[in-house]
Structures are given as structure tokens and as C-alpha cells.
């Protein structure tokens, strides 16, 4: 080396030096150089410039050098695809090597090179390796299929590797079986409908045999795969459970938890009076307890899962309360989880111990933990009635500590205790009032105000107390303001003589000086009530309140069932269904516990207990059912025995509706939506006629009816212009563009199909994936045949909303599969939610007022519609066409307020307040709905309707 290296930058010098060493003749020097390269790579330095030099070292018989070069290749092949081709030959050669280690190494590395050009060369060697005589090579090749699938799924399918992989499930070597299962599971995840893991009793038996002999990791894959199986009857279920139980004693906690999942699921099928059922319950407790003595990270995941298990089957751990006691050195995330489970397990038998512990925790240092502990005491009081008194006195003790956040937290939970046990613990109010001044959190202030209002007749200076809050009324948060308003009205109704001034003050503050619509409206309602009929007001405001229920925090039963099927996964850690957050898993299957033999739905299981507490679930937006048979995008990929949705029944009734709807709308469509649908209704039916008989008759008839009915219709619903849903490039020459419309009460999908391929198309069929509103085709897709190249046809497909439901993201997303004689194509499109607004969506005024008030403020969302130059009447008319009905109109300061309602096909009401100011092109819209998820889509529809 000359001194020149000192004149270059270090980095360049280094690369330069390495290059020289890599090209050295000495083997030893070469190897050292490769090692240096790898070392630089690991710390994130870019050494890709050395690619050709490193690859040159590949043809060596030194195994370590070979491995190192392979390591390098995997990292950089992607950035140097052309160079990477140089390596192909060596791979092919190495796959023939007599040493199985080298064969396996080659096949392993091959799959890690994510370069499209190369993958094609790798199919042949991979095929050989999958059938290799050495199981070590076979098991490596199995994983390689998964790798290749990740790079080029089509190639893997075309080459038939999936079938070979399925065959490997029956391999004689357990490790090969385990890897094949793992690979198939991974492929299946990105391919939810492929039925790759088609489990039957024979394959289950093979898996169970392999389970005993493969590695711990293999056991996890096999157990997770077993959990997807549904046994035919309780006998089979029991025998699987028996063979899985030994896994509970495994040292690897992931194996244990996967085994717990299988058992929890299959247990559901066992009759409860069976001895074995009881035995199994007993066997489940110790392994779960053991998980809690592992490292904290493991404990955390275990605790999240135990939380689910305890909700589903509290009997398993009911005697194990003590293991959930918090240890001094637990990380905070473990402490919080333990606390949660302690409350779930609290019962009359152990409440004394639990309370003693909780009181201890409330004096710890960590604020979050202390708060949760205080809250837990309150939850215990509500859960275990016998303990309520002790809980209250414990809380009072804590209030005496005067630690600010403890006091506030305690007051919030005492309010809940009052609501559960009215007229029982009012003696403590005096103590609470002493702390009035120290409350600075809105929730605590609101709770305190509620208490004062509720028990105003027993608090001598209630008026003074409330008045003191009134001073800074406008600085308070909304929840405090609302509480204050209600509390003062209550006070007035209880002590009308002394507090008249106070109530007038608060009413004027709420109605005149506030710009919060909720507060204002509530103020007006009270005002009106008080001024018209004080007796009625008393009945309304001081009405007996329903008691709050025990468990407000239980997971909703259907979700719980699904989560139990996902024990041990991320879903179980987040307590959310996998569809809600796992990326890339479009249309995840909804898993459900199997039904117990003979008993239909398990009515006695604990999940039915919680009905009262859970706040009203929004109807049907969240999927309430799902079936194990999975999704329906499986038109062609599965044998006909698997079930899709059953369209035949609905298509009958749809056909009848079509008489009035279908054709007529496509006629009207021409002038309203500006869509070229006209051609379809004229062109298509006659041509279809000869093909089949029963369906087209209605189509033809409808055309006759249309001509008469189409005249003099009011302004119709807004139909968005057609957009290209499926470009020809992606669908082997078939192009589909389309839109959605609601015509005479029927939702329709209007499509233009264009054949841009070189050949004739035929055999069309269509299916939808489950979607948020259960949209499904109401009839078959009618495409006139032959559909020749360069031809375009218009097709109108009537839809109904009785299909299976699954929440989509975004809500109005629709995934569609279209089949023709060439292939199946998938695309997704978004429909305007306005086409789901039904015709009877006009609410009564009174109902509207009550509903508006009834829906919590959190559910309100506000949007701005910009650049809209309609006056309020025109807007109202336009919206009416899309079934958005104006119920009332009010003009305040030159600003028009339109109160509007609409109803979705699944019965969800949406209330809206539209502010239109003359001369201002920007509208403000507030939406309120019990299912706030829909707000965004509704707003989009508003915008679309108003601007077109």
C-alpha cells in the first residue's frame, strides 16, 4: 500500500482496499476480505460496489467462504439484478452437489434472492429439491416455496409447487411436515381463499403424529394449523384434545399457548357433563400460571391472553388469584395487565385479599398504576355487592391521603358506586365535598357536580357549591358544563324557592353565550320544559335512572369468541379482530368457536351474562357473524362443494323487483347520471333472450314498463360517473368500468365491459366479498355472448343487501371477483354510501330531536363542504333526490340550518345539521349517528350530491 490511501476519504479507501484483497490470489486473504465486507454490511455500510468481486469468490469448495458470499448475495442481489444472474449457474450446480448440506444451502439462498429475472431459473432446481432423498433438503425446499411465493405468487401456482407442498404434509419426516405446514400457513395468509390447508381427519392424524416428534417451532406451526380445523363431532374433538394436552408441559411458552388455543377451541364442542371436560379444565390452569414466572415480555403476552381466557372461562383460574398479585419489580406494562385480571377474578371469596392488595398499590409511585388501582377498587365494589361497603371505606381512606390524583380518581369511581347502589352511601358526601377545590380534572369535576346535583336535597349548601362552579363556566370542558347544567336544573326542581336565580343564570349561560350545540340544545330543552310544565319536567329530569351494570368493560361476546380462536396471536394482544389491523390480509377469515354438540348455541356459557352492560352495539356494521367456511372469492379455485353465499333464493325475488326497477333506471340514467347506460337496456335483453329463459323475461318486461313509468319522475338520485375499476392490463384484456346507482329503491351496479383481448369471452359470473352492508348480487351477471374482441357492452346488475357482513376499511369498500372463460379477476371499488339511503328515511320531528340529544356528543363529527353555490332550498331538493330528507329548517342571523335525516339499508339512522349561509360557498355539516364510523362516507356522499 502506498500513502495514497491517506489522501482519499476513508470510505473510498476502504472499498478500494477490499477490492484489491478480494481479487487476491491467496485463498486466505480472500476469505478475510469477504469477512471484512460482511462486517461492514452488518453495521449498515454500503458495500454494494464490491458485488462483482464478491460474486467471483462464490465458486469455491470452502464452505465457510461460500456461506459468506451467499450472505452477501442475499443482501445486495436486489440492487444489482444483472450481476446476480452470474450467480445462477453456481446455484444450479450446487443443487446437484452430493453433500446435502450444500444442496440445502443453495436452495435456501436461492429463495432469498428477490430478483424476478432469477426466480424463473430457480424453478427446476427447487422442484428437484422438493423431492430430494434427504429430508434436510426437503424441509429447506418447503420453506423456499414460501419465499418464492412472496416474490412471485403466480409463478409458484403455475409451476404446481403448491400441490407438491401439500403432498409434503404426508412426508415421513416430522420436520418436513412441520416446515410444509409453516410454509402453507404463510402462503395461505396472503391468499385467504385458496383452501391450501384443506384439513380432513387423515391429514389431522398425520399432523398429530408429527407434532410429537418435530422441533418446538414446528410444534407451534402445527398447533396453529390444528386450531383452524373443525372436528366432526365431540369424540373427534376429545381425541385431538387428548393428543394435544402433553404440549402444555413444554418448556417453550409459545408451544404452551398455542396448545391452550387448540384446547380452548375444541373444548367448546365437548359436552359439559363429560368427565374429560372437567379434567381438561383442571389441566389448563397450571401451564397458564407457569407462564407468569417467565421473562416479563412473555408474561405480558400471556397476561393479555389470560385476560381473554378468564372472560370466556372464569372457572379455569378462579383459585389462582394470588399469582396475579403485582410484584414490586414488575415492569409497568405487566402491573397494569395483572390489575385488570385481578378485577375479573374478584369474587366474594377472595375480595378481602384483593382489596388489601389494591389499597397497597394505591400508595405506589407510578401515577398510571395508582390511578388504575383506585379505579379497580371501584370496579370491585360494583362487581361484588358484599364488598361495596369495604370498598367505599377504602376509597375514603385514600381520599384522606389528599394525594391529588388519588382523590380525583376516587371521586370518579364513587360516582359509579352511587349509581349502582343508590341511597346507600350518601353519608360520605360530606367528605367528598371537602375536596371540591382540589379537583382540576374534568372527569372528576363532572363526577362531583353530578353527585351534588343528584343529592342536592341532602346537601345544605348545594346551591353555593354549584354556584362556585358557575363563575368559570366558559372555561370548563363540555362534560363539566353539561353536568353543571343538569345538576342545577335538578337542584332547582328539588329546591325551587331558593335557586330560581341560579337556574336562570345557567340557562342563559348555556343557551345564549355558548356555541356548543349540545349544550345549547340541552339548555333550550330544559328551559322549555321548565317554562311549560314543571311537573313534567320533574318527572323527566328526576326520573329513576337505570342501575349501571357490573361489567362495562367486557369484550363483546362475538368478538371474544373470535379472539379465543386467535389466542397467542397479535390479535389477542390487541384484543381486536385480525381484520382490524393486520396489513395485507384482505378478507381475513372470521373464526368462530365450534358449537357444542347437541346443545346448539351454548346458552349457558358465561358470555351471555354480560348483555346489560355493553353499550348498544351499532347494528350490523360490525360483523356479528362469520362462518368457518371463509370468504367467497373462491369462485374457481375450490371444488363446487364449498359454499359461497346462496344467491339462487334472492335472485328470484330480485327478478320480480327488477320488473319495475332495473330497466327503468337504466333508461333514466342517461339524462341524470350522464352515463351511457341507455345502450345496455336496449341492447342487452333481446340478445340474452335466447340464451336462458327465466331471468331475461323479467328484463324484457321491465323495458316495457319503463317506457310508461319513466316520464315525470322527480329529480333522481345522484349517480357518480363511471370509473375504470379493472384495467384491461390486469385482467387479460377485460376492462370493466362502472358506477353504482339507486333507482326506484333498488341498488344497482352499472358496468361497461370492454373486451380488449384478441379472443372471444364468455361464461361470465360475479361475486362480492363480504362487505360492510352485506351487498350481494341479486342475480347472475348477464353478458351477451359471444362477447367479441373490441366490443363494449353495458351491464346492469341489481344488488341486494342480504349478503354476509364484514366491516371493510374504508367502510364503503367493495371487493369484487369477476370470472370469465379466461380467469378470475379481483378488483375493489367504492360505492357512494348515498345509494344505501332508503326511501323511508324521513324521521318524525320529535323523534329527531330526541335522537339527536340521545346520541352522545362523541359521535358527532363536523365537516366543511367548500365551494358549493346552491341556496338552501336547492340543496335540500337535490339531497332529497338521494333520500336525504330535510325535516326542519330554521333561519338564524341569515344562516339557514337544515335538519336532515337518512336511513341506511341496515337500519342505521344518520342525523345531520347543515348550515348554509347566504353568500358563503362553504357549508358546515354536523353528523350524528350511533355508528360514527359511517360519518366520513356520508359526508363524502353529501359533497358528491351537492356538487353534481
Amino acid at each position: 500500500m502506498t500513502d495514497s490511501k491517506y489522501f482519499t476519504t476513508t470510505k473510498k479507501g476502504e472499498i478500494f482496499e477490499l477490492k484489491a484483497e478480494l481479487n487476491s490470489d491467496k485463498k486466505e486473504k480472500k476469505k478475510e476480505a469477504v469477512k471484512k465486507v460482511i462486517a461492514s454490511m452488518t453495521v449498515g455500510k454500503d458495500v454494494s460496489a464490491l458485488f462483482p468481486d464478491v460474486v467471483n469468490c462464490m465458486q469455491t469448495d470452502n464452505l465457510e467462504l461460500k456461506k459468506l458470499v451467499y450472505l452477501y448475495l442475499m443482501n445486495y442481489a436486489k440492487s444489482q439484478p444483472d450481476m446476480a444472474i452470474m450467480a445462477v449457474n453456481t446455484f444450479v450446480k450446487d443443487c446437484e452437489d452430493p453433500n446435502p448440506l450444500i444442496r440445502a444451502l443453495a436452495v435456501r439462498t436461492m429463495g432469498c434472492i428477490r430478483v424476478d429475472k432469477i426466480t424463473e431459473y430457480l424453478c427446476e432446481p427447487l422442484r428437484k429439491c422438493l423431492k430430494d432423498e434427504d429430508p434436510y433438503v426437503r424441509k429447506t425446499a418447503a420453506v423456499c416455496v414460501a419465499k418464492l411465493h412472496d416474490i412471485n405468487a403466480q409463478l409458484v401456482e403455475d409451476q404446481g409447487f403448491l400441490d407438491t407442498l401439500k403432498d409434503l404434509i404426508s412426508d415421513s419426516n416430522p420436520m418436513v411436515v412441520a416446515n410444509a405446514v409453516a410454509a402453507l400457513s404463510e402462503i395461505a395468509e396472503s391468499h385467504p381463499n385458496s383452501n391450501l390447508l384443506d384439513l380432513n381427519p387423515q391429514s389431522i392424524n398425520k399432523l398429530l403424529t408429527a407434532l410429537n416428534e418435530c422441533t418446538e417451532w414446528g410444534q407451534i406451526f402445527i398447533l396453529d394449523c390444528l386450531a383452524n380445523y373443525t372436528p366432526r363431532d365431540d369424540r373427534e374433538s376429545q381425541s385431538i384434545c387428548e393428543r394435544v394436552t402433553p404440549r402444555l408441559s413444554h418448556a417453550n411458552s409459545a408451544v404452551v399457548l398455542s396448545a391452550v388455543k387448540v384446547l380452548m377451541k375444541f373444548m367448546e364442542m365437548l359436552p359439559k357433563d363429560l368427565d374429560y371436560y372437567g379434567t381438561l379444565l383442571k389441566k389448563l390452569a397450571p401451564p397458564l400460571v407457569t407462564l407468569l414466572s417467565a421473562e416479563p415480555e412473555l408474561q405480558y403476552v400471556a397476561l393479555r391472553n389470560i385476560n381473554l381466557i378468564v372472560q370466556k372461562r372464569p372457572e379455569i383460574l378462579k383459585h389462582e388469584m394470588k399469582v396475579f398479585f403485582v410484584k414490586y419489580n414488575d415492569p409497568i406494562y405487566v402491573k397494569l395487565e395483572k390489575l385488570d385480571i385481578m378485577i375479573r377474578l374478584a369474587s366474594q371469596a377472595n375480595i378481602a385479599q384483593v382489596l388489601a392488595e389494591l389499597k397497597e398499590y394505591a400508595t405506589e409511585v407510578d401515577v398510571d398504576f395508582v390511578r388504575k388501582a383506585v379505579r379497580a377498587i371501584g370496579r370491585c365494589a360494583i362487581k361484588v355487592e358484599q364488598s361495596a361497603e369495604r370498598c367505599v371505606s377504602t376509597l375514603l381512606d385514600l381520599i384522606q391521603t389528599k394525594v391529588n390524583y388519588v382523590v380525583q380518581e376516587a371521586i370518579v369511581v364513587i360516582k359509579d358506586i352511587f349509581r349502582k347502589y343508590p341511597n346507600k352511601y350518601e353519608s360520605v358526601i360530606a367528605t367528598l365535598c371537602e375536596n371540591l377545590d382540589s379537583l382540576d380534572e374534568p372527569e372528576a369535576r363532572a363526577a362531583m357536580i353530578w353527585i351534588v346535583g343528584e343529592y342536592a336535597e341532602r346537601i345544605d349548601n348545594a346551591d353555593e357549591l354549584l354556584e362556585s362552579f358557575l363563575e368559570g363556566f366558559h372555561d370548563e370542558s363540555t362534560q363539566v358544563q353539561l353536568q353543571l347544567l343538569t345538576a342545577i336544573v335538578k337542584l332547582f326542581l328539588k329546591k325551587p324557592t331558593e335557586t330560581q336565580e341560579l337556574v336562570q343564570q345557567v340557562l342563559s349561560l348555556a343557551t345564549q353565550d355558548s356555541d356548543n350545540p349540545d349544550l345549547r340544545d340541552r339548555g333550550y330543552i330544559y328551559w322549555r320544559l321548565l317554562s311549560t310544565d314543571p311537573v313534567a319536567a320533574k318527572e323527566v329530569v328526576l326520573a329513576e335512572k337505570p342501575l349501571i351494570s357490573e361489567e362495562t368493560d367486557l369484550i363483546e361476546p362475538t368478538l371474544l369468541e373470535e379472539l379465543i380462536c386467535h389466542i397467542g396471536t397479535l390479535a389477542s394482544v390487541y384484543h381486536k379482530p385480525p381484520s382490524a389491523f393486520v396489513e395485507g390480509s384482505r378478507g381475513v377469515q372470521h373464526k368462530r368457536l365450534p358449537a357444542r354438540a347437541g346443545s346448539g348455541e351454548s346458552a349457558e356459557s358465561p358470555d351471555t351474562v354480560s348483555t346489560g352492560g355493553v353499550s348498544e352495539a351499532p347494528p350490523a356494521v360490525i360483523p356479528s357473524q362469520g362462518d368457518l367456511l371463509g370468504d367467497l372469492l373462491n369462485l374457481d379455485l375450490t371444488p363446487p362443494t364449498t359454499t359461497g353465499p346462496p344467491p339462487p333464493t334472492s335472485s328470484m325475488q330480485m327478478g320480480a323487483m327488477d320488473l319495475l326497477g332495473g330497466g327503468l333506471d337504466s333508461l333514466l340514467g342517461g339524462d341524470i347520471g350522464g352515463s351511457p347506460a341507455m345502450g345496455a337496456s336496449f341492447g342487452a335483453p333481446p340478445a340474452v333472450m335466447p340464451g336462458s329463459f327465466n331471468a331475461p323475461v323479467s328484463g324484457g318486461l321491465s323495458d316495457l314498463f319503463d317506457l310508461g313509468g319513466g316520464v315525470g319522475m322527480p329529480m333522481g338520485a345522484y349517480v357518480p360517473p363511471k370509473t375504470v375499476w379493472l384495467p384491461a392490463m390486469k385482467a387479460k384484456g377485460l376492462e370493466i368500468s362502472g358506477t353504482f346507482a339507486r333507482r326506484s329503491g333498488v341498488v344497482q351496479m352499472e358496468m361497461t365491459l370492454t373486451n380488449k383481448a384478441m379472443s372471444v369471452m364468455g361464461d361470465f359470473a360475479i361475486q362480492f366479498n363480504r362487505n360492510s352492508f352485506g351487498l350481494a348480487p341479486a342475480g347472475p351477471l348477464q353478458v351477451l355472448t359471444p362477447f367479441t374482441p373490441n366490443q363494449s357492452i353495458e351491464v346492469t346488475l341489481p344488488l341486494n343487501t342480504v349478503g354476509p357482513v364484514m366491516k371493510m376499511e374504508p367502510l364503503n369498500n367493495l371487493q369484487v371477483a369477476v370470472k370469465n372463460n379466461i380467469d378470475v379477476f379481483y378488483f375493489s371499488c367504492q360505492y357512494p354510501i348515498s345509494m344505501l339511503f332508503v326511501e323511508d328515511g324521513k324521521m318524525e320531528r320529535q323523534v329527531f330531536l330526541a335522537t339527536w340529544k340521545d346520541i352522545p356528543n362523541d359521535n358527532e363529527s363536523q365537516f366543511q363542504i367548500k365551494d358549493c353555490h346552491l341556496n338552501s332550498d336547492a340543496a335540500s331538493n337535490k339531497l332529497q333526490g338521494s333520500n336525504i330528507f330535510t325535516i326542519a329548517k330554521r333561519t338564524v342571523d341569515g344562516q339557514d340550518m337544515l335538519y336532515q335525516s337518512m336511513k341506511l339499508t341496515n337500519g342505521i339512522w344518520i342525523l345531520a345539521e347543515l348550515k348554509v349561509q347566504a353568500g358563503n360557498p362553504n357549508y358546515t355539516i354536523s353528523l350524528k349517528c350511533r355508528a360514527p364510523e359511517v360519518a366520513q362516507s356520508v359526508f363524502q356522499s353529501y359533497e358528491a350530491v351537492l356538487k353534481n
Binding site: 462486517a39 429430508p135 420453506v143 410484584k327
Partner: protein, 435 residues
């Protein structure tokens, strides 16, 4: 499956990354750093962190965060278990698992990680197999390698990889055949102020060091196997035999391994072999407090309690202490307020005690935190649960091995909640009267 692994040191630098699929930018760790900043203590970083496109699952060991990046639904326990296995392997190979050791052996680390996972699927995680594939670095071997040009990567397919006993390599030879078993028990307990036990549980393990020639088949039986109702076995243990006869029958891996771990819960009465008498008082209006602590053995079956270490977090108001240990040494750190007393061995005739006074911050309100006492100790030749090995037999080989069994009891986390004499509510009342 597992996409990538990042190693992050205590100061928040990524010092190693490994990708098993496509490369994930290290900027993904920013979400981890955010969580790290939010956590008050290093160990409070949540183990599962969601990011928009990935999930980060991490474990903290030896002050290094091992952060795994996953993209699809993978059982988190699987990832965590695997990460712990990685740490164990590093420790096994390099003696320690520190940033320096990893950096020094970066190529071996890379080779190991590459062998342990393939495309995110675990490949070889048994230390026996790994050591056949990649020889651990030793000074001697490095020298030999440099001279002869040989490598530390095995040329042969590891024999155990596919046999029915994947944990054992074939062709093992020893001149001295020996098998040692250590029964080690740890007690975790929480004791309340009155001295009664709130929870107590025993975590036991049987660690083995087996150096036997050939393919020995061992059986181990216990005097009182009923104690073991909650056990986790090494894969080598034949579970059916255990279920039926309560005998451990297995072909052992070669070298050190954990044969089983067990858990004796609070249902079976657990006696804690040490008791503590303690008294701490603060007088009203005075800046002095009294401190008095005495230890004694309890139900130790005549075995000595050794290496006793007492530590306690004193209230923040304590400025300093002036204490007198009857034996051993004590330290008090006025900054962290941590009192540690290295007692040594407990002599039942002359119980160790620590007495004296504490000076408090003048004028400060009386401390209202609950100090806790943590005790650590060791007892040789006794398993506190009473577990005893009956006999160990070997089949399948002709020679006579040397056998040995050791017992030991350790304190895991024994915490004694140590309440102040007046309860907190009384104190606040008194406090109020001052104004």
C-alpha cells in the same frame, strides 16, 4: 414470520441489523425509540409496539434491546421465545452477551443468525446442532485456523438435525463419563407487615451437565414426584412415561441443558426459611427516626442460610442513616435512598441485627411511602419444596458413569411490605392539625 432484527444498546444506537427477507429500513426503529423515551425505566418499554406497517417485538437482556420486526400475524410469544434463544446462544458462544462481544464476533453472530432463521422460520436453535455447524470461537481455534487455513464452519451435515433425537449428536466420546444434576429452587414471596405470607411460590429447575459416551438412556426418579404437578420438560423427556409412572426417562443432550423446570404454587404451603423482625418509627416534630431490623432462620432443616443480602428502599425524606450492624457491612446511598446490608451467613445462636437512627429532612412531612425489604440468600444442600431425587439409572451403554446430585435454594424476589407504624390516614389527620 420474523423479518428483521435490530440490536439496540442502552444509549439508543442500533449496532447490528440482520434481515431475513427484504431489507427493512432502520428508520422503523424510530417508533421503538419513541416508546423508549416515554418509558420511565429501561425495562418499562412495552414488548409489542405497533407501527403503521410493521410490528416491533422486543426483549431487553444484558442492557441490550433485541428488536424483531414482523409484518404479518405471527404469534408474539414465538418471537419473544426466539429472541431469548438468540441471547442464550450468544451467551453460550461468547461467554457474555455484551455489545463488545457481539461486535468482536460480528461474523460469527451473522453466521449464527443465518443458521437460526431461514426466511423467518426457525432452522436450528439447539445449541448442540449449532455448535456442529459453527464452532464457537476460542483463542486456540482462531490460532489454529489462521495457521492451517481451516474454518470454523462445519463441513458435515449435523447428525442430530434429522434423527429422532435431534438434540444429541452422535459419536460422543469421553474418557471420564459423568452426569451431574443441580436441583435449584427459587422462592418468590410477598410478605405483609404482620409477617404473614401473601403469596409464595417456588420456581424450580433441574439443570444437568451430562458428559456421557455414546447414546445413554437415563431414568431419574423422585422420592416425592407428587410435588411436580406443574412442569415444563426439555423435549428429550418422554412424556408418556412421566404421565404413567412419574419417572423421567430421556436420552440427554450432550453437555449443559435444562432438564425440567417446575413451579410449586402457593396452594402447597411454602415455608420461607428466613424471618425478619423490623421496626421503623418516625416521631412527630423530630427529625430523627429509629430503625431496627433482625433476621433469623426458620425451618431450614439444620442447613445454614448463606450469602444473605438485605436491601430496602427508604422513604425519600430520609437524609442519612447511622446504623450498627451486628455482622456484615451496610451501605446507604443518600441519592437513591437504597439501603443494602450484606449479612453473610446467619448464625442461629447469634441473630444478625441492624439498629440505629435515621436523620430526616427538617420540617418535611413524614414519609408516606411504603418501604419494602428485599432479601436474598442461598441454602446449600436443600430444596425448600422438599423435592428429592430417588435414583438415577443408565441404560444402553456398558460403562459405569459417575453421578452427582446437588440441591440449592435461593431467594428470588422476597419482598416484605414494611409499613410505617401509623397508618397513612391517621397521619394526614395529624398533619392537618398543624395548620
Amino acid at each position: 414470520m420474523i423479518h428483521s432484527l435490530f440490536l439496540v444498546n442502552a444509549s439508543g444506537d442500533i449496532f447490528l441489523e440482520k434481515h431475513w427477507k427484504s431489507v427493512v429500513s432502520r428508520s422503523v426503529c424510530d417508533y421503538f425509540f419513541e416508546a423508549q423515551e416515554r418509558a420511565t425505566e429501561p425495562e418499562n418499554v412495552p414488548p409489542v409496539i405497533p407501527t403503521p406497517h410493521h410490528y416491533l417485538i422486543s426483549v431487553l437482556r444484558h442492557r441490550i434491546y433485541f428488536v424483531a420486526v414482523i409484518q404479518s400475524e405471527v404469534p408474539p410469544l414465538f418471537v419473544i421465545e426466539f429472541l431469548h434463544r438468540v441471547v442464550d446462544t450468544f451467551q453460550d458462544y461468547f461467554g457474555v452477551c455484551t455489545e463488545a462481544a457481539i461486535k468482536d464476533n460480528v461474523v460469527v453472530v451473522y453466521e449464527l443468525l443465518e443458521e437460526m432463521l431461514d426466511n423467518g422460520f426457525p432452522l436450528a436453535t439447539e445449541s448442540n446442532i449449532l455448535k456442529e455447524l459453527i464452532k464457537p470461537p476460542t483463542i486456540l481455534r482462531t490460532m489454529v485456523n489462521t495457521i492451517t487455513g481451516s474454518t470454523n464452519v462445519g463441513e458435515q451435515l449435523p447428525t442430530g438435525q434429522l434423527s429422532v433425537v435431534p438434540w444429541r449428536r452422535t459419536g460422543v466420546k469421553y474418557t471420564n463419563n459423568e452426569a451431574y444434576f443441580d436441583v435449584v429452587e427459587e422462592i418468590d414471596a410477598i410478605i405483609d407487615k404482620s409477617g404473614s405470607t401473601i403469596t409464595a411460590e417456588i420456581q424450580g429447575v433441574i439443570d444437568a451437565c451430562v458428559k456421557l459416551t455414546g447414546m445413554p438412556d437415563l431414568t431419574l426418579s423422585f422420592m416425592n414426584p407428587r410435588l411436580l404437578d406443574d412442569v415444563s420438560f426439555h423435549p428429550c423427556v418422554r412424556f408418556k412415561r412421566w404421565e404413567a409412572e412419574r419417572i423421567l426417562s430421556f436420552i440427554p443432550p450432550d453437555g449443559n441443558f435444562r432438564l425440567l423446570s417446575y413451579h410449586v404454587s402457593s396452594q402447597n404451603l411454602v415455608a420461607i426459611p428466613v424471618y425478619v423482625k423490623h421496626n421503623i418509627t418516625f416521631r412527630e416534630g423530630s427529625s430523627q427516626g429509629r430503625f431496627d431490623l433482625t433476621l433469623g432462620p426458620k425451618q431450614t432443616m439444620g442447613k445454614a442460610v448463606e450469602s444473605v443480602l438485605v436491601s430496602s428502599q427508604l422513604p425519600r425524606g430520609v437524609l442519612n442513616t447511622n446504623l450498627n450492624p451486628s455482622q456484615g457491612t451496610y451501605t446507604f446511598d443518600p441519592v437513591t435512598k437504597l439501603l443494602t446490608w450484606d449479612v453473610g451467613k446467619i448464625n442461629p445462636q447469634k441473630l444478625p441485627s441492624l439498629k440505629g437512627s435515621m436523620s430526616l429532612q427538617a420540617g418535611a412531612s413524614k414519609p408516606d411511602e411504603n418501604p419494602t425489604i428485599n432479601i436474598q440468600f442461598k441454602i446449600q444442600q436443600m430444596a425448600i419444596s422438599g423435592l428429592k431425587v430417588n435414583r438415577l439409572d443408565m441404560y444402553g451403554e456398558k460403562y459405569k458413569p459417575f453421578k452427582g446430585i446437588k440441591y440449592m435454594t435461593k431467594a428470588g424476589f422476597i419482598y416484605i411490605n414494611w409499613r410505617l407504624l401509623c397508618s397513612s390516614s391517621e397521619w394526614t389527620l395529624a398533619h392537618k392539625n398543624l395548620y
